[in-house]
């Protein structure tokens, strides 16, 4: 863990809580899938919590993020509530998107989350455009574009990095390198280094341990402040690991990664366990206090799941609503 003075107790506790909340959310989402209570499928963020939390804790509410198919962590970290999130995952009317988006499109515009995206790399233009908007309108907002190592193979990224660098846009490209592009080791499909790709556009690039929430947060705070002053864009490669498969149904994955490798990350490099140990060692929290936080959050998640399971589906009349802004029902319009 990065050395840190014990003056930010509230910040530390919020970061710990947010990481635990993400893990609890995902554990419940996984159970909903395994028990066939959730329609469709989903992609677990477990293992990568320090990335979303470390970065989002450096952002203001009005700052924008774009998220990915593996997006629950970003959504929680940017301020979303369990109830509306579980409702969205279950396709219920009280979901953030009234059940129209689901896991892969969850968005929470009230906290600046412009949405998860089911096209790998699909939101790179959106985040860069949000930064262009912020610069033009003078809002001082910063945009963070979350994407995985797999998305670095998309051409769109190079087009928008070029424009972001040319126009000094307040955008931070946050690449969560979990080592796998879906079911393939990224080492097998990526030439050269990822940081060098950003540097080729004259973009300042950083690499950080994505399992260390304090290291991530410290870097993010510096870069967000600089981006706000017009010194962007920036690129961060965050070394991290996804505990589950590509999606919840990707159970048998011995053919592309070893169980030993998974066990090593889970036991030695878990971002929550390690941060909890640090909080104890620094005398900020006792083991009992941490357990109490975990239990409280688990209970919250369980209650939210129960609420969402009982919540109503959207009425059938909503199927052609929200196709066009300003048009109540698209079918009587087109």
């Amino acid at each position: 863990m990065a050395p840190k003075k014990k003056t930010n107790t509230e910040d530390y506790l919020r970061m710990y809580r947010q990481m635990v909340r993400i893990r609890a959310f995902e554990d419940n989402a996984n159970q909903l899938y395994l028990s066939a209570k959730m329609p469709g499928l989903t992609h677990m963020y477990s293992g990568q919590e320090a990335v979303a939390v470390g970065i989002c804790e450096a952002l203001e509410d009005s700052d924008k993020i774009t998220s990915t198919h593996r997006g629950h962590g970003h959504c929680v970290a940017k301020g979303a509530e369990f109830r509306q999130m579980f409702c969205e995952l279950l396709g219920k009317a009280e979901g953030y998107c009234r059940g129209k988006g689901g896991s892969m499109h969850i968005a929470d515009q009230s906290h600046g989350n412009l949405g998860a995206n089911a096209i790998v790399g699909g939101s790179m233009g959106i985040a860069t455009g949000a930064a262009l908007s912020a610069k033009r309108l003078g809002t001082k907002d910063v945009a963070v574009c979350f994407f995985g190592d797999g998305a670095t193979a998309q051409g769109l990224w190079y087009e928008v990095m070029n424009m972001a660098a040319l126009w000094k846009l307040p955008v931070i490209y946050a690449c969560e390198n979990n080592g796998y592009s879906e079911y393939t080791k990224t080492d097998e499909i990526a030439a050269g280094s990822l940081t060098a790709r950003a540097e080729a556009f004259g973009i300042e690039a950083h690499s950080v341990d994505g399992q260390d929430v304090l290291a991530v947060n410290e870097l993010a705070q510096k870069l967000v402040a600089r981006a706000r002053k017009g010194e962007g864009p920036f690129f961060i490669e965050l070394q991290t690991y996804r505990y589950h498969g590509h999606h919840v149904g990707d159970i048998n994955r011995d053919y592309y990664r070893s169980r030993d490798e998974e066990a090593e990350w889970k036991t030695a490099r878990d971002p929550i366990t390690n941060f909890g140990k640090w909080l104890e060692a620094e005398g900020i929290m006792t083991a009992d206090e941490l357990v109490a936080i975990n239990d409280e959050i688990k209970a919250d998640a369980k209650a939210a799941v129960e609420y969402a399971l009982d919540a109503a589906y959207p009425p059938s009349g909503e199927v052609d609503m929200h196709v066009f802004a300003g048009v109540d029902h698209a079918l009587s319009y087109v």
Binding site: Q109, I119, G125, G129, A130, A131, L132, M163, H322, A325
Partner: protein
């Protein structure tokens, strides 16, 4: 007060007027600033609004389209200039997977108020990658509105409406009409979406024609007039939304219809409109509804071949005569 201006000037005026009214509007695309586009449609705008609002981009269509989507979601109202309609294939993910679906997927919480200006039209001897009329592709995708101006008057009024719309709108200008003049009022006006224009009244047959094909339909009506056949010409002006009511009312009156559009005939706009006529005016029809779109071939370069691929007044008139005389038979 009316005066005659070119379609190009009408587009330029629409953008300038809207940009003066609303500082959140900016225009982005390739060679839009000093160059004013290859068609010189945007000349003078960068001098008035500066490079911060008339933004020249690298040749990165998916990139600047994506930027526009994100900007539109966060308080800006971008106008994207896509140099040729053929480049739509390059921006399809950002337009159809992102812009078109964002409002719906967010349950109505996020808006994408952007305009994609591009063009259509063959017979410019530009071959298969600079001549396509691809509006059917985008009209197929829920969440996108599609406008097809047929003159300078429509180009200005529809573009101003598009810029004020809170949804993604794709507007196709006929690149062969940029220098064509038409009466355009000095005073401000808007043309609402989903309101067709009856360009010529008639009794015997309805010609539903879009964009470049409105001129063809009007010329057809002149030819038919000599044969004593009275043709009504309907210009839908927008295909999403489509003013079905005006089209159906016309066909119920004339009992015959030909739908003419410069997109490929197969699986295209002509089929969609013909099908709606058949469904909603079937018992009023005295002849099968005909489709006349571009030939189902890539647009050829050679003028001798290219001219064969687009409906002409002579070809439309010939089909109209067969329809009116009751000589259109099913192939079987």
């Amino acid at each position: 007060m009316s005066r005659e201006i070119t379609l190009s000037k009408a587009v330029n005026e629409a953008i300038a007027e809207e940009m003066r009214r609303d500082p959140t509007i900016f225009l982005i695309g390739e060679d839009v600033a000093e160059a004013g586009t290859p068609f010189k449609v945007l000349s003078g705008l960068v001098e008035e609004f500066g490079p911060e609002r008339i933004i020249d981009t690298p040749i990165s269509e998916p990139g600047f389209m994506g930027l526009a989507v994100g900007a539109a979601m966060t308080g800006s109202r971008p106008i994207v200039d896509l140099m040729f309609g053929d480049f739509l294939f390059l921006v399809m993910d950002q337009l159809c997977n992102q812009a078109a679906k964002t409002h719906y997927m967010s349950g109505g919480k996020l808006n994408v108020p952007l305009v994609l200006r591009t063009n259509l039209g063959a017979t410019r001897r530009s071959a298969a990658q600079h001549s396509q009329s691809l509006h059917a592709l985008v009209a197929h995708i829920p969440g996108l509105k599609v406008a097809l101006p047929s003159s300078a008057y429509e180009a200005k009024g529809l573009l101003k409406t598009a810029i004020r719309d809170d949804n993604p709108v794709v507007i196709f200008e006929d690149k062969l009409m940029y220098n064509d003049k038409a009466p355009v009022p000095e005073e401000e006006y808007l043309i609402p979406f989903g309101k067709a224009a009856v360009r010529r009244e008639g009794r015997d047959i309805t010609l539903v024609a879009t964009s470049s094909m409105v001129q063809v339909a009007l010329a057809t009506a002149d030819l038919l007039d000599r044969d004593g056949i009275s043709a009504e010409v309907i210009d839908p002006r927008t295909i999403v939304p489509l003013d079905e009511e005006t089209i159906i009312a016309s066909v119920r009156k004339t009992s015959r219809a030909i739908v003419i559009d410069e997109g490929h005939q197969n699986f295209g706009i002509t089929g969609e409109i013909a099908s709606r006529i058949s469904e909603k005016a079937f018992y009023h029809l005295d002849a099968p509804v005909m489709r006349m779109g571009a030939m189902h071939v890539p647009v050829p370069f050679s003028p001798a071949l290219e001219d064969l691929t687009v409906p002409t007044p002579e070809a439309v008139a010939e089909n109209a005569r067969l329809s009116v005389r009751g000589e259109l038979f099913h192939a079987a």
